[in-house]
Every structure is written in C-alpha cells, then in structure tokens.
C-alpha cells in the first residue's frame, strides 16, 4: 500500500511575518486570559470581572495606581540588571542573591552612619549596595571568564548561600534588640528614601529605576561599550574577530548586572521596609529574568514588562479583595504570560504550507 503524502508541511521560515512582533504580546495576553479563566471560575468568580479588577481597577484609585509603580520599582531594577548580563550572553541567574547583598549594605550603612544629610547618606548607601552586589557577582563572573565554569549553576547556588548569610545575620548579630524579631534595626531617618507623593508608598526609588532604564538605553545605543556588549551576546566569534575584548566585556556586564541588582536591594530596604528582613524579596531576582526575556532585552521593553508585572501584582491584590480569588493568581498569570509568549515567539518561526 502506498504511503500517503502529507498534505501540509511545517517548515522554518527566515523572516517571521511582520504582524507577529506587535500581535504576539496581545495574543499572549488573550491566551493567558483563556488559560487562567479556569482557575478564576474554580474560585467562583467571573473571569471578565476578575480581569477588570486585574488590569483596570488598579488605575481607578490614586493609591493603587501608585502602588503599581511601587511594585514595579524593584522589578524594573532587577529586569534591567538581568538585561545587562543577558545582553552580553552571560546568564546571571543570581540577581536574587545580589539584591540581598545590596540590601545588607543598605541595612548596615543605614544604621552605622548617623548625622549625615540625607543626600549624602543615601548616596553612600547606594554606592555601597552597588559594590556589594558587584562583589557577590564577582566570583561566578571570574570563574566563567577565566575558567569557563558555567555561570548558570554558580550564580543560582550562590543565591541560596546569600539567603543563609542573611538568615545568619538576622538571627545573630543583627537581630533587632528592641523587638527580638529576625529583622535588622531600623535604619536612620536620613537613610530613608524620600517619598515622591506624600502619604503614599511611592518613593524615590522609582526615579532611580527610571534612571537606570535610561542609563541602559543610553549605554546600549549610544556608547561603544553597549555595541560591543551586544555584539558579544549575539555572536562571540564575530565580535572576537572584530577585535572586541570578549573577556573584559563579559566581566564588566556581569559585574554591573550584580551592582544594579544590589541597588534593587538598597531601594527595597531604604524605601519600603527600612529593615533587612528574610522576606525582603519575593523572588524579584528571578522575576527579573522573566521580565528581561519578555522585554526582549530592550530597556524600554523591560520597563514596560516590569510595570505590567507590577500591575498584575497590584491587580492580583485587588481581585483578591474584591472577588476572593487568591492573590497568587498574579504569579500564575505572570508565569503563563511568559510561557505563552515564549511559545508564540518560537512558533512564529514556523509556517504551515501546502505540500
């Protein structure tokens, strides 16, 4: 019996259809909506209502709109931090640990230094946080550049080590003498980030986040280093041939990435918590990786993705309060959005054709 010829062929295309770039995020959102509807229904809520609360309600009040920005701040910083490294082809999975490193610096300098004007105090803290982040990123970066040890595992494992360091500090020498809780003493008032809008949670850290977005944008498109970094991330052999110093470029990218993640840690301590606590970051470092990917490693895209995630985080709380849908819908939506988008981005490289 003769074999039947396939009617359709799935094949790879060189240039994805133009409409894909803009349509995909939208399609992904719709797809995510459909997928998460099941969960919303399980919570005895109406999916459309839920998504209203999710995406639109946060903008209905001043408080929650600002909250989107507050939640977005560490996400923007971590997203930018990760983008820095990923752009150069260095897969920094350790932003979480680097964030805490910066937080340690903030908690320390925020308490140890007193009697300084706020501007000076904050500048020192930010610098300290940056340097601590760099320090924590240094070992995996050197191992990669000098010994070709894969950075994914080393940065990942150091996250856990950092968490233990924080735990040791908080349960030991830094345990708050007043309350006895595992939290560091409150930082001095001069160490706290000023509020942007009075009586809200929105603090100067947001401005810093935007500054770093602009910084990355500037670096990327207006400096020689930015071009070299991208070249290295896209094609090491070609960059090498053109005379780019690969080792130096990767090393700098990796370290700056750690530094910016450290800044995220400072910002959370000096702007929101005012102490160092175990639960300072609900995984911002990891979410940063997701945001960087969704943002296409482009600073504007990363900022948008981060704010979108901030919206989802805020919206999830709104939905939870209004409809009783567990707040974790937020994480689920973020994760689904990521996976659906990634899937679609890759599917756009294939097309179906008649045989």
């Amino acid at each position: 019996m003769a074999k039947r010829e396939a009617k359709y062929i799935v094949e790879k295309t060189q240039t994805p259809p133009v409409w894909a770039r803009t349509a995909i995020p939208l399609l992904a959102l719709i797809g995510t909506f459909i997928i998460t509807s099941g969960l919303i229904l399980w919570s005895n809520a109406n999916p459309f209502e839920a998504y209203y609360y999710f995406l639109f309600a946060p903008f209905s009040s001043r408080v929650s709109t600002l909250e989107v920005l507050v939640k977005g701040t560490p996400l923007i910083l971590c997203g930018i931090a990760v983008t820095f490294a990923f752009s150069a082809g260095y897969y920094n999975i350790g932003a979480e640990g680097q964030l805490y490193a910066g937080a340690i610096a903030a908690a320390w300098l925020g308490v140890a230094l007193t009697g300084l004007p706020t501007i000076l105090h904050l500048t020192i803290m930010l610098l300290g946080g940056f340097l601590f982040g760099v320090a924590w990123a240094l070992i995996p970066a050197l191992l990669k550049v000098k010994l070709a040890v894969d950075e994914v595992v080393t940065t990942l494992l150091l996250n856990s080590v950092m968490l233990y360091i924080v735990s040791a500090l908080l349960n030991g020498p830094w345990r708050d003498p007043e309350s006895g809780w595992p939290q560091s003493p409150e930082i001095a008032p001069s160490a706290m980030l000023p509020k942007l809008v009075p009586r809200s949670r929105l603090h100067f850290g947001f401005i810093l986040a935007i500054l770093f977005v602009l910084l990355l944008w500037f670096l990327r498109s207006r400096t020689g280093f930015g071009l070299k970094m991208r070249a290295v991330g896209m094609s090491k052999p070609a960059a090498r041939f053109a005379g780019v110093n690969i080792e130096r470029t990767v090393l700098i990218s990796a370290l700056v990435s750690g530094g910016i993640a450290g800044i995220a840690g400072v910002v959370e301590v000096a702007g929101i918590q005012f102490h160092l606590i175990d639960a300072l970051s609900p995984g911002y470092g990891y979410t940063g990786i997701i945001i960087a990917t969704l943002g296409g490693l482009h600073p504007i895209g990363v900022a948008v993705a981060a704010l979108f995630f901030g919206l989802i985080d805020t919206g999830a709380q709104t939905v939870s309060r209004a409809l009783g849908v567990p707040v974790y819908l937020g994480e689920i939506t973020q994760a689904t959005m990521l996976l659906v988008t990634l899937g679609m981005l890759l599917l756009q490289n294939y097309r179906i054709r008649r045989a």
Binding site: T223, G224, L227, K228, A239, R240
Partner: protein, 499 residues
C-alpha cells in the same frame, strides 16, 4: 570481479552549482577504490548520495545488482553500506561497545558481557585491535576512527566509505589504518577511499576514479598509472589565463612569516615551520586542498589563534600571538574565513562596518551615530553593497555580507590584506567583484595573501603561488612558472620540494 555498487548517471545540483554532472561510478567486490579530486570536485557529494544523506536529482544506484532507493543512512546501512566521515559521531564518555551498539541493540536490557564479546569478536575478525571496554574519550584519534569503522562492520557492512580518513591522523596512524584496510579487504569488504592525497592513493588503492568539477574524468587501475598522470587529471584545465593587466612594482616585504608553527583545535600540529614573505604590491596565493592548514594559517595571522612558535613580522614588529585588535592596528587587514561567523547578524550594516574601529566613532565618550551612518553610506556606495545602513546583516545575501566585511577592512587601506576563501559560496557577480577588489589592493601597493581552495582563483590572481600540504609549504613558484602538473603534484603531496 562483480560490481557491488554501481552508480549510473548521477546528477545532483545545489541551487546553481552542479555538484555531480552525470557521474558514473562502479565499485567492484573486494577492491579498495580511491576517489580522487580537489575540493568541490563532487566526491563527497557522490558518496553522501550513496549513503542516503543526499538524494540525487536523477540517476540510479544498484547495490549487488539490485536497484536500490536509498533515502536515509538507515536504508544505506540496511543495504550493507557504511560510512566513516571526518567528524566522528562518537560519544566520548561511553565505552567502545556502548558507542558501537547505540541505536542497534535488540531488546531493552543491555547484555553487557554478551555485547562486549560480540564487539570484540567483530573487531578481531577484521584484525583490529580494540578493547571493547575502553572509554572512547581516552582513545587516540586513530583508535577512534577504528571504532567508527567497527560501527559499520558491526552492522554487517559490505561496503565501507571513508571520507578523507587520513586528514586527522598522524603518519603512524595512517600506516595502521592502511593495515586495517588491507585486512578488511581480505575479509571480503569493498572500500571506497575519498582522498586528495596522491601518495596514499598510490599506496592503498586498486583502482582510482578521478572527479573534477562534478564530472568523472576517468577510472584507472592504480598499477597502470603514475602520480603525474593523476595530478593532471585532477587539476587539468582547458585554459587558464592570468587575467591581470598591469605589472606592479614589487616592493619590500609587507609581512614576513618565519618558522611559524601552530596547532589545530585537537592539539595536533597544523602548521609546521611555515616560511612566507608577502611583498607590497603582490598577491601571494596559497594553493592547496582544504584541511591542510589553511584555516590555522589564516587564524594565526588574524590573531584568532596563538601560534606555538615562530614569528610574524610586520615592519620588524612581531605580531604573533597578538590580539585581533593589535593585528588591525599593525596594519593587517583581515577578513574572516567564515563570513557568517564574522558578521554579527542581528546588528545593522552600519554597526558591523563600525565595529572594528569603534574608537574612531566615539565623540566625547558617546557613539556618534551620525558618523556611523555616514561611514556606512560612504562604504555602501564605494563597495556597491546592496543594502541600507539600517538593514540587519543577516538579511543580506552572501555576496553582500562579504562586501561588508571587505569594505570594513579596505576602507582603512591596510598595508596587508588577508583573504582566506574570499569567494567561497558566492555567486558569479559577487565573485567577480571580490577578485577585482583584491587586484585593486595589489595595485594600490598592499601585500595580499590569498588563501583559496579554488585553483582557478589562485591562478587568475596570484603573482606568486605557494602550495601548502599537511601544514608545510611544499613549494613556491612565480605564477608564470606554474604548470598544472607541478601544482597538482604539490597539492596532493607527491612532491615535497622546497626552495
């Protein structure tokens, strides 16, 4: 002797290149049959068709007299045909036995002892010394190759195709291989031996088929031919014309290579005491079949590979071991051998053009985008690149990519130009353009090093020709003195003369 494989009237085209042009090939039972030819002659293509990796556009294949439709290696293996390529398909941490039985086991459970015995027996049957329990990672290259052969034998191959098997072997291993092949022949196997090396062909084969430019030139008994005859068949051309118009002043040495030694990626010596001088206003063509050290030569001169010893002198400054940036600064204009690994596909034409000399576009520590754009526009016009400055380079055709790489280098008017395989894979128009550019540079007074596997190109452009074989410069002559027989002999290792 009966024919065990017959390929009749095979035609295979790749876009506008005819790799096999109505080729006939016959393998007799129990013989070692060499397939001789330069790069691009069609030898590998023909054998890949036999092994099912390619499909012929037309023609037929008969195995042991029966018509065979071979659509995949699995079909070929079923018909008793095995192939050993230059890149081994081995899994280093596994044992010899595990590698041999991979994908060819019966049953879910591996009967270790039984398998090892069977593999050991198969090896012994053909007189090969292999320890079935040895871990492949620890084997020498020659031993690894024998494992590859064993894989075919284990699957009851009656025909064995070897594609340039000695390319990766040291001389002692070559002898061992030949011994093995003799034993295989005695065991009833028929072998096809693809090669460009005359001495080996003369030593091991019973018959030789010479391919050239996709056609079968002739098939002769090895015992009835001579190396010069084979060489002429291999490179014979109807006409070859030196198409240069002007004679130029040959100046002093632009680049001198002294006693250069370098290893390849496997750590084996690829360049052995190479001595060359490139003079200003001259094109020195390095001829040779691919895989004889050309890649490593280009890489050491480009700063991509560190030589193990020797000097590369530019203006009395030794740049051996220098970084690519330092080489460029020394005035060496470099083009990469593989253009796809030489351009950053996702960046724009303008960015690629600026990448090598970024410091020239930095104005007050920021990138002067305007200057980069203008530079790109200028170069696009000057070099007739069919693209806009903002196009991503990966969307360009091969020819235009090559122009981008050329433009980047030539815009700086380097004193030395390295051009390895500059027209490989390009269409006629682009090839013409690139060759014209090389001649222009020569007129300008630069010293050009042209490395090419295309003998036509070498002959058309070079003032002097050096032939590289197994990492050694086996001969150097002025273009006027170059005759095909000598070149052919040098390229296939039959003559090792040195000035």
């Amino acid at each position: 002797m009966a024919s065990i494989v017959e390929m009749r009237d095979i035609v295979k085209r790749f876009e506008d290149v005819t790799a096999n042009d109505h080729v006939n090939f016959e393998l007799r039972e129990g013989e070692i049959h060499a397939l001789l030819g330069e790069n691009g002659a069609g030898k590998t293509t023909l054998m890949r068709i036999l092994y099912g990796l390619y499909r012929a556009d037309s023609g037929e294949i008969r195995v042991a007299g029966d018509l065979a439709s071979i659509h995949s290696p699995k079909d070929a293996i079923q018909r008793g045909i095995g192939m050993v390529t230059q890149h081994f398909a081995l899994v280093p941490p596994l044992t010899v036995t595990e590698n041999v039985v991979l994908g060819y086991t019966d049953g879910f459970v591996l009967q270790r002892a039984a398998m090892e015995e069977r593999v050991g027996a198969a090896a012994k049957k053909f007189g090969m010394e292999i320890d079935p329990t040895a871990v492949v990672r620890h084997l020498s290259v020659g031993e690894k190759q024998r494992v590859e052969i064993l894989k075919a034998l284990y699957r009851d191959a009656k025909v064995l195709i070897l594609d340039e098997p000695t390319a990766v072997l040291i001389p002692q291993e070559v002898d061992a291989l030949f011994e093995t092949l003799e034993k295989l022949k005695e065991g009833g196997l028929s072998v096809i031996f693809i090669s460009h090396k005359l001495d080996e062909v003369m030593t091991i084969s019973d018959r030789v088929t010479v391919l050239r430019d996709g056609s079968n030139i002739d098939t002769v008994l090895t015992s009835e031919t001579t190396p010069p005859q084979l060489a002429t068949m291999m490179v014979g051309r109807e006409t070859f014309g030196v198409t240069r118009q002007k004679e130029t002043e040959k100046g002093e040495a632009a680049l001198t290579i002294r006693d250069l030694c370098a290893d390849d990626d496997q750590g084996l010596p690829a360049l052995k005491h190479v001595n060359l001088t490139i003079r200003c206003g001259e094109i020195l063509g390095i001829a040779g079949v691919g895989g004889n050290g050309q890649k490593e030569l280009a890489e050491t001169l480009s700063g991509i590979r560190k030589p193990t010893s020797g000097e590369i002198l530019v203006d009395d400054e030794d740049i051996s071991g220098a970084t690519p940036a330092e080489c460029t600064r020394a005035g060496v204009g470099r083009i990469p051998e593989d253009r796809h690994a030489g351009v950053v596909g996702e960046l724009t034409v303008a960015e690629n053009l600026a990448l090598e000399h970024l410091h020239e576009f930095i104005h007050r520590s920021t990138l002067d985008r305007q200057a980069i754009q203008e530079n790109a526009e200028r170069l696009i016009e000057a070099f007739q690149i069919k693209a806009k400055p903002t196009d991503k380079v990966r969307t360009l055709s091969g020819g235009n990519m090559q122009k981008v790489l050329l433009a980047r280098v030539l815009a700086r008017e380097p004193g030395i130009l390295l051009a390895p395989q500059p027209t490989r894979g390009l269409d006629v128009g682009a090839t013409e353009y690139v060759r014209t550019q090389l001649l222009k540079q020569r007129e300008r007074g630069a010293g050009v090093l042209l490395i090419s596997e295309d003998l036509d190109e070498i002959l058309a452009l070079s003032d002097r020709i050096a032939v590289i074989y197994e990492g050694v410069i086996v001969g150097e002559l002025a273009a006027e003195e170059a005759d095909l027989e000598r070149l052919g002999l040098m390229m296939s290792g039959a003559v090792k003369e040195r000035v």
